[in-house]
Symmetry: C2
Subunit: 142 residues, 2 copies
């Protein structure tokens, strides 16, 4: 069945979560080649491009909660892709050489993802959708 045919298709709750699940799935597929989830992949990219980045900054960039960021970093640390150094109350995240080597592959995943959804949704349309979603997200104070 198509999403539009559901009795709740006109409800923002179902609309947004259905979209996000599908997008998550596509993204997961695109990041599979590097063995990371999209979130982990993006986090690692930021850590490579901004070595020493702090969790608080990642919270802002990835729009996730602090605890989630900690968990993401933990996993990348297990995989020896980043290391954490803690000094006082601040923590810095650095990519390991092994992590750094992945940059091209990571970028390719991101590009692949973008190309795939743009191809399916249309270039103009997907850009428009993203920007209106973004606007709405900012308007929504929960």
């Amino acid at each position: 069945m198509k999403a539009c045919d559901s009795r709740y298709s006109q409800c923002l709750y179902f609309a947004s979560s259905a979209l996000s699940r599908k997008v998550e799935k596509l993204a997961t597929e695109c990041w599979a080649p590097v063995g990371l989830s999209p979130s982990h992949g993006y986090l690692l990219m930021i850590a490579i491009e901004e070595p020493g980045v702090q969790p608080s900054f990642l919270v802002e960039q990835l729009q996730l909660t602090p605890s989630t960021i900690t968990r993401l970093i933990e996993k990348l640390e297990e995989k020896k892709l980043v290391v954490r150094t803690t000094e006082g109350k601040i923590t810095n995240v650095y990519p390991t050489p092994k992590g750094k080597d992945m940059l091209p592959a990571l970028k390719a995943c991101g590009q692949d993802f973008h190309e795939r959804y743009a191809a399916q949704l249309g270039d103009r349309e997907s850009t428009a959708l993203v920007s209106s979603i973004c606007q709405m997200t900012d308007k929504l104070k929960v």
Copy 2:
């Protein structure tokens, strides 16, 4: 920070998941009065309005996977809001009297949710957003 200011704000992955998390949160708030998550609430509503409904139908309506539907039903069963009867390979879900009594409250939650997001996003705008999200979801074959 605003979602639009993130370096990945133009990426559908972040856009859709950020929106969905915010919407989920608002919806969760709106359903708190009945002590159910939005998904549970909607599922119960369908079960009340279509007694004997089968999991496969709920899968379509709620756009969730079969296993998730089973889990949702399980929880409602624990709370004595629905009962399951299995005959052969098909299962029917019926609301209990206790479940049925909740219908007005459930509808109120749904309405409250709709009013709240419409008030924040604008009536026209939110409707337009929902419909374009829905269209895009259908276009996206993962």
